[in-house]
């Protein structure tokens, strides 16, 4: 554990990418193979499921610290990270544990099946035998996401440096379903093993939002445009008559979409399609909300399947006749994809081509983009006809050209302390809009992003001085500040008091020039629903 904790400490105490890569690479050269596999798993979000719920952990930590639970909770709100709070309040280590990362993880997996008393004894014993930073890292493994400013991409780069294996090949090896408790470093990273690749998806190619005017991309003849659908980006794999559906989050979601099983009867083996899963009712794209109900459920009832049908809109072809064709041009890949889809009768199979368009001018493309909301798309995707399918988020060949978001002016009503680098600062805000009579503010959205650090500090200082009431970590504040809130989509909702659900709300601007009376009403918001 010492080596892993030291690694995390180094990663956590620098903002420089080069230092992070160097620390990771030397760890990957020096650490034990079993610990390396777990480190890769943890940094690529493959932690074993949580064996203890955090409520019990808080309780046990407060007991060890000899403080009342409410005081632990208050401390947690201020520290902003549960593992950090636990590590801070528990008394200093009495004896030193020499266990490695691998052993801790093995114990953690075994712990899941044990009784509550055994769990309590295990945690308390280990908390008292690790020093502060090890205790923090150990607890972090038990509580939620392990975000320490190291992306999977950065980790892969360091691994490439340590092993001399190409970064893109490593990215591919690390995709998909592998189990850190059964695989070895040799098998996962060093060896080539064909059967492992059956279900393996390719890393997704992701685009950045376009920064300048699209005219600056040059001659439009070099660019294909297609609508950017608002669903779940997915890869459909058909190999050896088996179907695998992967979401962009690298999650295998095959069993969530049983209607796609039919693909195996029409799509030949050795095919991988990149596309978007969309809710689809009566020959029309339906709300993203329908899709959420599908992903959320553990078991899919027949009724739900009938109520919320889905389709796949195909964007791209990555593998054809068992061969990786990502190096070929987009034009070539599209031709093959169109051939594949056009040669079969798809009337009863939920697969459609996402049509791509050629425009004579950027003006014509802009006109199509303006139409996006009426066809239920988020805007346009621009792809160079000669571009290969790259790995990860890259600039240059593909661009997102989204429609401008909806905006509305709302009043800050509640605030909560943030987490991580925003701990101890009030950065998580709730916003309200006026009711008809402009008498009462009705909560309609929460937003956590969009202000600069300096603005957050100013608002934080204001909140601390203008608190009306405290409800645990939440404070109600004097209605005073108006913010322009941007969001991507809007739909009716019974779950929200306002009757409206917005997609991806964030703060666009702090309207210090506006008084609260000038904020929008709920009616204004509802009028945006198409």
């Amino acid at each position: 554990m010492k080596a892993f904790a030291q690694l995390i400490k180094t990663l956590d105490s620098t903002n420089k990418t080069t230092v992070k890569v160097k620390a990771l690479a030397s760890y990957f050269k020096e650490a034990k193979d079993k610990d390396k596999v777990w480190t890769i798993a943890i940094l690529s979000h493959r932690r074993p499921p949580r064996p203890v719920n955090t409520k019990l952990m808080r309780q046990w930590a407060a007991e060890l610290a000899q403080i009342p639970l409410w005081l632990f909770e208050e401390s947690y709100h201020i520290v902003g990270d549960l593992a950090e709070t636990i590590a801070l309040v528990i008394p200093a280590a009495q004896e030193k544990s020499e266990k490695g990362l691998h052993q801790f993880l093995t114990e953690m997996i075994a712990l899941k099946k044990q009784s509550e008393q055994e769990k309590e004894a295990y945690l308390k014993e280990n908390w008292l035998s690790l020093d502060y930073y090890e205790r923090f890292v150990f607890t972090k493994l038990f509580t939620g996401s392990f975000r320490i400013g190291v992306s999977q991409k950065l980790m892969t780069r360091a691994l490439a440096k340590a092993t001399d294996i190409d970064e893109d090949i490593l990215a591919y090896k690390l995709m998909g379903n592998w189990d850190p408790s059964t695989t070895s470093f040799k098998r996962l990273i060093l060896e080539e093993n064909k059967s492992d690749f059956l279900s393996k998806p390719y890393p997704f190619y992701l685009a950045y939002a376009i920064e300048n005017e699209p005219q600056e991309l040059g001659d439009i003849a070099n660019w294909a445009a297609e609508h950017k659908w608002d669903g779940i980006r997915a890869q459909i794999i058909v190999r050896e008559s088996e179907l695998f559906v992967w979401s962009r989050g690298e999650e295998l979601v095959t069993d969530k979409f049983p209607e796609f099983e039919e693909f195996t009867s029409v799509i030949p083996d050795g095919t991988v399609i990149d596309g978007e899963i969309l809710a689809y009712n009566n020959h029309k794209i339906a709300s993203f909300k329908n899709l959420q109900t599908r992903i959320g459920r553990k078991t899919l009832s027949k009724k739900l399947l009938e109520k919320t049908p889905v389709i796949l809109k195909a964007y791209d072809l990555l593998e054809w006749e068992g061969k990786d064709i990502r190096e070929q041009s987009y034009q070539k890949r599209r031709d093959l994809l169109e051939q594949l889809i056009n040669q079969t009768d798809y009337t009863n199979i939920p697969l459609q081509l996402s049509s791509n368009m050629r425009f004579e001018s950027w003006q014509a493309a802009a006109k199509e983009r303006e139409r996006s909301r009426t066809v239920k798309s988020e805007g346009l995707m621009l792809k160079r006809w000669d571009s290969p399918y790259l790995v990860g988020r890259k600039k240059g060949d593909w661009w997102k050209w989204k429609v401008d978001p909806f905006t509305i002016d709302a009043v800050l009503t509640y605030a909560m302390r943030g987490h991580g680098r925003r701990s101890n600062l009030f950065t998580d805000y709730t916003f309200g809009l006026w009711d008809k009579e402009k008498k009462e503010l009705v909560t309609f959205a929460k937003a956590y992003s969009g202000l600069t650090d300096a603005e957050f500090r100013k608002v934080d200082a204001w909140i601390k001085k203008n608190t009306l009431e405290r409800f645990g970590p939440v404070r109600s504040v004097k209605p005073f500040h108006v913010f322009e809130i941007a969001f991507e989509g809007i739909a009716q909702s019974n779950r929200h008091k306002s009757g409206v659900a917005t997609r991806f709300p964030r703060i666009l601007r702090w309207r210090q020039d506006k008084k609260i009376e000038e904020a929008n009403t709920l009616e204004d918001l509802k009028n945006l629903i198409i």
Partner: protein, 342 residues
């Protein structure tokens, strides 16, 4: 009902019987000053009373003021009220104020810490009935290491940076923390350079206590000579053009706030050392116990949480609003300098 011996009004902590204020934040006739930080020793009072080692410090900060210096434990009477100053251990020249009238004793701590830092006269517990305490770090998450441990880390950090050819820029308050660092760091590792704001204060403190040799950074200081050495700078220098002279450098901050990982990352500082001139959680509790006081008034810091906990422990505790805000003020200064950079 008769006013208590000390109460809080719009100008500060007031003793009506003596017509004396303790660390007032608005101009008053007679002010007893606990220490030299800006939020405790402000402009505009007609008369200042403070410990004699603090006299040159506040004169440096406030200019030509009318100030009387007293010794530890020396009592002075004002309209029948007996006042005396006792070491608070916060920074050099910092005191607690003991106030006694008709057998009733109150103590106001100003800012304080229990550990002997080698420079400030160490804290001494004073028995009292009512205790007005700061609780800047009044949360169980705050737990200081002995300063020997922290300085071992700081020395090691400097040594390693030096070996890699980097300059070590360490941020600390100009008064107090900077001198504590100077006094305790291993000055044999290299040269110690100082920002003018810190060096001006060093010159004042050198008349009171001995400090290792330092070099003031001026316009004429050469970039090459600084390399690999230690630079002490106030937090406001972070991100300012001044710091470009130190390239290549690594930054660190020494403060109690460095307990939180988020606090360090928010400031974009490479390394944080947890070193505070205030009490941590357990020091606050043991200090309160040692006074024998039953009535506790909590001022700046996590006051509500801390006084709730004290009430549960059987004390009669409450919170009073003050305008002491040195730690947070320093935080703001730090952030405003970041603003300039953006």
């Amino acid at each position: 009902m008769k006013k208590p011996l000390l109460h809080f009004n719009a100008k500060g902590i007031y003793c009506q019987q003596a017509d004396v204020y303790l660390d007032p934040w608005k101009p008053v006739k007679k002010a007893i000053i606990t220490h030299g930080h800006a939020d405790h020793s402000r402009w505009g009072h007609q008369q200042y009373i403070t410990h004699h080692t603090n006299v040159p410090i506040i004169k440096h900060r406030l200019g030509d003021i009318q100030v009387a210096g007293v010794n530890w434990g020396e009592t002075f009477l004002v309209n029948g009220v007996k006042f005396s100053l006792h070491p608070a251990g916060h920074i050099i020249g910092s005191s607690q104020v003991r106030v006694e009238y008709k057998g009733e004793v109150w103590v106001f701590t100003g800012d304080y810490k229990l550990e002997d830092d080698g420079l400030a006269t160490p804290y001494e517990p004073v028995k009292c009935h009512s205790f007005i305490t700061e609780c800047t770090f009044g949360l169980p998450a705050f737990k200081w290491q002995p300063q020997k441990e922290v300085f071992r880390e700081i020395n090691q950090w400097w040594q390693e940076n030096k070996e890699e050819g980097n300059t070590s820029v360490l941020f600390a308050y100009s008064l107090g923390k900077a001198q504590r660092l100077l006094k305790n760091i291993d000055a044999t590792i290299g040269e110690i350079y100082t920002h003018a704001a810190i060096e001006n204060m060093n010159e004042v403190v050198r008349d009171i206590a001995s400090l290792p040799q330092t070099k003031r950074i001026t316009k004429d200081t050469k970039k090459e000579e600084i390399k690999g050495n230690l630079v002490l700078a106030p937090p406001s220098a972070h991100g300012s053009p001044w710091i470009r002279k130190m390239v290549p450098y690594v930054t660190a901050s020494a403060s109690g706030w460095m307990t939180f990982r988020g606090a360090r990352r928010r400031r974009a500082i490479d390394k944080g050392f947890v070193l505070s001139d205030h009490c941590d959680w357990s020091s606050l509790l043991s200090a309160i116990k040692a006074t024998g006081a039953e009535k506790i008034i909590c001022t700046h810091g996590y006051t509500d949480i801390f006084s709730q906990f004290l009430n549960e422990q059987g004390y009669d505790a409450r919170t009073e609003q003050t305008q002491f805000e040195e730690e947070t003020a320093e935080e703001l200064k730090l952030s405003s300098s970041k603003l300039e950079r953006q």
